[in-house]
Amino acid sequence: MPKGMFVDTSICTGCKACQVACKEWNGLPHEPGHFRFDPVEKRPVAVNFTGDSYDNTGDLSAADWRHVRFIEQFSEDRARSRARWLFSSDSCKHCNDAGCLNACPTGAIVRTDLGNVTVQQDVCIGCKYCIPSCPYGVISLSEASGTVRKCTLCNDRIHNGLGTACAKACPTGSISFGEVAGLKAAADRRLAQLKGLGHADANLYGYKEAGGLNVFYLFLDRPQVYGQPETVVVPQKRLPVSSAVTVVGALALGAAAMVSFRERGSREEDEEVKK
């Protein structure tokens, strides 16, 4: 009975409570890259203004396990039909076919009985191979710990009968935590409701991607608009072909060597030389 989260972006107000609640519960620091140090006053000073709507944290990182995106869609005349400000809170999706977990050479990344994918901090060696292996750009190296860190789906909370910290804090219920099957039923109902209200482009994201996502989304526009890839290939799916072609290359070279070294000297000659 995997647990997960349903993120209904249609009722996200972009307040970022999830970002802070996540840091609070998980004891995450501010993202060091967002600050410079003021030597006179002896304190960090935030310098991460981006000009990208109200998004200043920009991305998920080892210190930012949640990230709220802001998408402004306004026509020049700002007619209501073409005036939208979309918000969406992003995190690790706890893929059923998880690129990071597949790539992990040490067994540090594990999936628990509740379906969440989490990094055992005492096992990870910081090889960073999981980082480019995540098709969603979630997992990241913490310079402080030398290990990779990401959302654990609040592993401690969910294994003690609680929901995730972000879902709990979310003022509007845009993030809800529960059993994936139940959440999907709710998501289907909400999608039908929105379609009925004329949101023709509304769609659910995460039913099929990467073997199904335990954290999935309702979007009002195409997933790409929210920065989510519309076709996801878990890298390890390509491993057999990639390996095979490499082996073919090796065989070709083997053949080349065989030909090269044989042409100039026969076994008989060798025998002679040896004698």
């Binding site: 009722i11 107000t13 972009g14 307040c15 970022k16 409570a17 970002q19 802070v20 840091k23 609070e24 620091p29 501010h30 993202e31 967002h34 600050f35 006053e41 304190r43 960090p44 000073v45 935030a46 310098v47 991460n48 203004f49 981006t50 000009g51 709507s53 109200y54 200043n56 944290t57 402004e72 306004f74 020049e76 700002r78 209501r80 005036a83 939208r84 400000w85 979309l86 918000f87 003022p171 509007t172 219920g173 409701q193």
Partner: protein, 850 residues
């Protein structure tokens, strides 16, 4: 309808509920605001209006409503309005409206700076014969001065009725005028008006929610009045789902207004004794304040006032010494925030206690306020972090620029570390009047102490210093009731043993019998003879019996939650909820049932024959009933009574002297009985409605360092609005020092429309400088179509927005936006006009074109 508020951003958790109403019950959410904000994004309708034109928009809805078919045919509206509002009341024939006088009302003084409100009065019957001949008590005095009942015309045909005056007053507030003045498309306006109208009635209610987007104007009070008038006309007051909801900004800003640390008010909304009024003795004070209100529940004013003084001076407060009234200070003018700093700058104020406030950032014309701080002899700041206010002498912009020199600032500054909320026990009153307790979890670290600790121990030391004085000026200090030391059990387990008892203080606020020291269960038992002491009568009932603190009730339910906290007064969550039933006492509809008359219920009293008297008001939800519990709907009030005796069974508005909601305010406001549109004090356009440009009685301070811009000033052509964000709190002391919040909104930015940006050569993310006659600030440009230019009367008006949370301290820094704003305010309550003024904008850094 959300207007004058950015609810989703500034009150995100409260916004949970309207959003639920939308997704689960199909409610229509509308946002009227100059900017497209996170609130607009969640609403079905966004009506953009030029800042400061709210009264035009709301007035036009009033005009639309009262001429609409629905309002004139659905009997609900007529029944509600005639019975529960003063629509039918006749106004003095001398009253002249703004339509008659081109923008001002009758009664304006020859210098145009103040109104006399005599001509705004009701027409009344002859006063009744007094019920008492001799006056032994303050109540008797009130009984001798009961005015005649207001004259009415329930048909509303008389041109002197409030309704006809209102109708004429708003007749030029048309959809076309909205388009012309507000810059809002007519169709959008009509959609808003129609939605409100169609969602009001017997089985539907509409709510209007506002915040400081309405208050921070020179017409702030009148904007809110306009909404109240509209809601009264739509029958949306006193009913579930209706009302005009204020979203306030600080954790207990409501509590600090109820138990006022405000110059003009005593706890419980009693006025501060005022040397400008006939307040020479306690009797004068009571008569001056209570006579105009005696036919409402304020008829109990003497009890509230005497019990207040008893709570201040205890045994020393006697009937003979007017309960210590003579030793209580009187105000002599406007001592509010802005004049406080004007007087400070003039050297009149020598010492300042700053408690959890940061005027160096949050004060209007902040540069002026910071420079005023340098004139003090001493200042005490209590806070968590080294606020800009506490550090003004060290590293403020004025020090850095050399304008001020630390060596020349003679101010002695104390920084006292404050306890954080989990480090002390106490109560907060939220924006719904709900008193909630927070318990002490841990001791504050090191020398940090609770605020109550500070004031209590400062008082204790001062009492010690004054204990041998015989001077009358020290009488109040000597006799001040100051017994809040903790019981051993209250501090058990904590390091700090001299923390005053929050319970004892709250018990005094609640009130108790002077002899038995037992808490009072309700303000109905207060006495005017000194036998009860009560700090703030409206809070009575929060400690109904010894040891029981209802602020600590923590049992919620799905609706009213009467057992979660305590909503003053008397746990009433929806004020004037008698209006949720029709005049005959029946619920308006099953769907909107809240409080109603149950004729079969046992009232708890017996008739002379010993049979139980049947009939009382009931509320199955557990809601406190805001009415006389057994007064039948058909009851006729006593003409020569006061308080509840005077009010009839359908006078739902029990705090009003006529028991009605006031569409027209014959008293209580200094700038007119009806709201009229005035342009902001600084505006790029002339008032298209009246010759009178701005509020004639607005408060202005023409002092050095506080220059104002002219109307349509070519040097300052752009409208600016200041506001807040979800990610920060006010002046930033509680958010900019938290890296978790600092990184969410790191720097000051300025929201600019692409149209204006291209006109000024501004690139997104670049630096811009905003200038007014008061100061200059630098900000990062956020170019966005969420901002738009307004077409006002054929002229393009550009508007920019600046969130104002930043200062030079903390972990998120930026220029202080209030360096731009001016000291100019609403005449009723002296709140400043921060939501709209004018400025100039250019690309580049301050002082250069870099």
């Amino acid at each position: 309808m959300i207007m004058g508020s950015n609810m989703a951003e500034c009150h995100p958790v409260a916004f949970r509920w309207p959003l639920k109403a939308k997704t689960e019950h199909g409610a229509v959410l509308m946002h009227v605001d100059p900017r497209f904000t996170r609130t607009s994004a969640m609403c079905d309708v966004h009506a953009p209006i030029r800042a400061g034109t709210d009264i035009v928009f709301l007035g036009a809805i009033i005009n639309h409503v009262i001429h609409s078919k629905r309002w004139n045919t659905d009997p609900f509206f007529r029944q509600y309005v005639v019975n529960y509002t003063n629509a039918a009341t006749l106004i003095s024939p001398e009253f002249k409206d703004t339509e008659d006088l081109d923008g001002v009302y009758s009664g304006l003084s020859p210098d145009g700076k103040a109104y006399a409100n005599a001509t705004w009065a009701y027409q009344r019957e002859t006063p009744p014969a007094p019920a008492v001949k001799t006056a032994a008590t303050y109540t008797d005095l009130l009984l001798q001065k009961v005015p005649g009942r207001p004259k009415t015309d329930p048909t509303l045909r008389n041109p002197r009725t409030v309704f006809r005056i209102l109708e004429r007053h708003y007749s030029r507030y048309t959809p076309e005028m909205v388009e012309k003045i507000c810059g809002c498309p007519k169709e959008t306006f009509l959609k808003v008006a129609e939605t409100l109208l169609s969602n009001s009635g017997a089985d539907r209610t509409s709510n209007i929610t506002y915040a400081v987007g309405w208050t921070q104007h020179t017409v702030g009070v009148q904007i809110i009045r306009t909404a109240a008038v509209l809601q009264a006309l739509l029958g949306n007051i006193g009913r579930p789902g209706g009302g005009v909801l204020a979203l306030r900004g600080h954790a207990t800003i409501q509590g600090s207004t109820d138990i006022a640390t405000l110059y003009h008010s005593l706890p419980g909304y009693l006025n501060m004794p005022d040397a400008r009024k006939a307040h020479d003795t306690l009797k004068d004070f009571i008569l001056t304040e209570a006579v105009p209100l005696s036919t409402s529940y304020w008829g109990n004013y003497p009890k509230f006032a005497v019990s207040y003084f008893k709570a201040q001076f205890g045994d020393a407060a006697t009937k003979e010494n007017d309960y210590g009234y003579d030793y209580h200070p009187k105000i002599t003018g406007d001592h509010s925030h802005m004049p406080m700093f004007v007087d400070m700058a003039a050297g009149k104020i020598k010492g300042l206690l700053v408690m959890g406030q940061n005027p160096a950032v949050g004060g209007q014309n902040a540069r002026f306020q910071r420079k005023a701080l340098a004139k003090l002899d001493w200042m005490v700041v209590r806070d968590f972090f080294e606020t800009e206010t506490s550090a003004f002498w060290r590293n403020s912009p004025e020090i850095r620029s050399g304008e001020l020199k630390a060596s020349e600032i003679k101010t002695e500054v104390f920084f006292l570390p404050a306890a954080a909320l989990p480090e002390m026990e106490g109560t907060f009153t939220n924006t719904q009047r709900l008193i909630q307790a927070h318990d002490k979890a841990v001791d504050p670290p090191d020398d940090a102490r609770s605020d109550t600790w500070f004031s209590f121990h400062l008082g204790r030391r001062l009492k010690e210093l004054y204990k041998d004085s015989a001077s009358p000026r020290d009488w109040a200090m000597r006799n001040l009731l100051w017994d809040y030391g903790p019981d051993a059990a209250e501090v058990a387990g904590f390091r700090i043993k001299d923390e005053p008892s929050a319970y004892k203080i709250l018990k005094e606020i609640n009130g108790y019998g002077w002899e038995d020291r037992k808490p009072l269960p309700t303000f109905a038992v207060l006495k005017e003879d000194g036998s009860t002491a009560c700090g703030a009568w409206i809070y009575t009932g929060v400690i109904p019996e010894e040891g029981k603190n209802r602020a600590k009730s923590r049992k919620g339910d799905d609706w009213i939650s009467p057992n979660w906290g305590f909503a003053w007064p008397a746990n009433r969550h929806i004020m004037y909820n008698r209006a949720s039933a029709d005049p005959s006492g029946k619920p308006w509809s099953e769907k909107k049932k809240l409080v109603y008359w149950d004729p079969a219920a046992d009232s708890g009293t017996k008739d002379p024959g010993g049979k139980p008297v049947l009939g009382k008001w009931v509320a199955p939800s557990g809601e406190g009933i805001d009415f006389m519990p057994t007064k039948a709907p058909a009851f006729k009030g006593k003409d020569n009574g006061i308080g509840f005796d005077w009010l009839s069974g359908n006078d739902a508005f029990i705090m009003r002297s006529d028991g009605k909601a006031w569409l027209f305010a014959p008293a209580g406001l200094v700038d007119g009985p009806l709201p009229a549109h005035y342009e902001p004090y600084e505006s790029p356009v002339n008032n298209p409605l009246y010759r009178q440009q701005a509020n004639p009685v607005a408060k202005v301070w023409k002092v050095e360092g506080n220059a104002y811009h002219k109307v349509a000033d070519p040097a300052y052509p752009i409208v600016i609005s200041t506001y807040r964000l979800t990610e920060h709190h006010l002046s930033g002391t509680m958010s900019r020092w938290l890296p978790w919040l600092a990184e969410l909104m790191p720097e000051l930015f300025c929201e600019i429309s692409p149209e204006l940006a291209s006109e000024k050569g501004i690139a997104n993310g670049g630096t811009v400088t905003i200038r007014t006659a008061r100061g200059e600030v630098e900000a990062r440009a956020l170019v966005t179509r969420r901002m738009r230019p307004f077409l006002v009367d054929g002229k393009t008006v550009h508007e920019i927005g600046l969130p104002w949370h930043w200062g030079w301290q903390g972990t998120a820094r930026g220029d202080i936006v209030n360096n731009l704003s001016a000291l100019v305010g609403d005449p009723n309550v002296s709140i400043h006009e921060g939501k709209v003024f004018t400025c100039d904008l250019r690309a580049g850094k301050k002082g250069g074109r870099g």
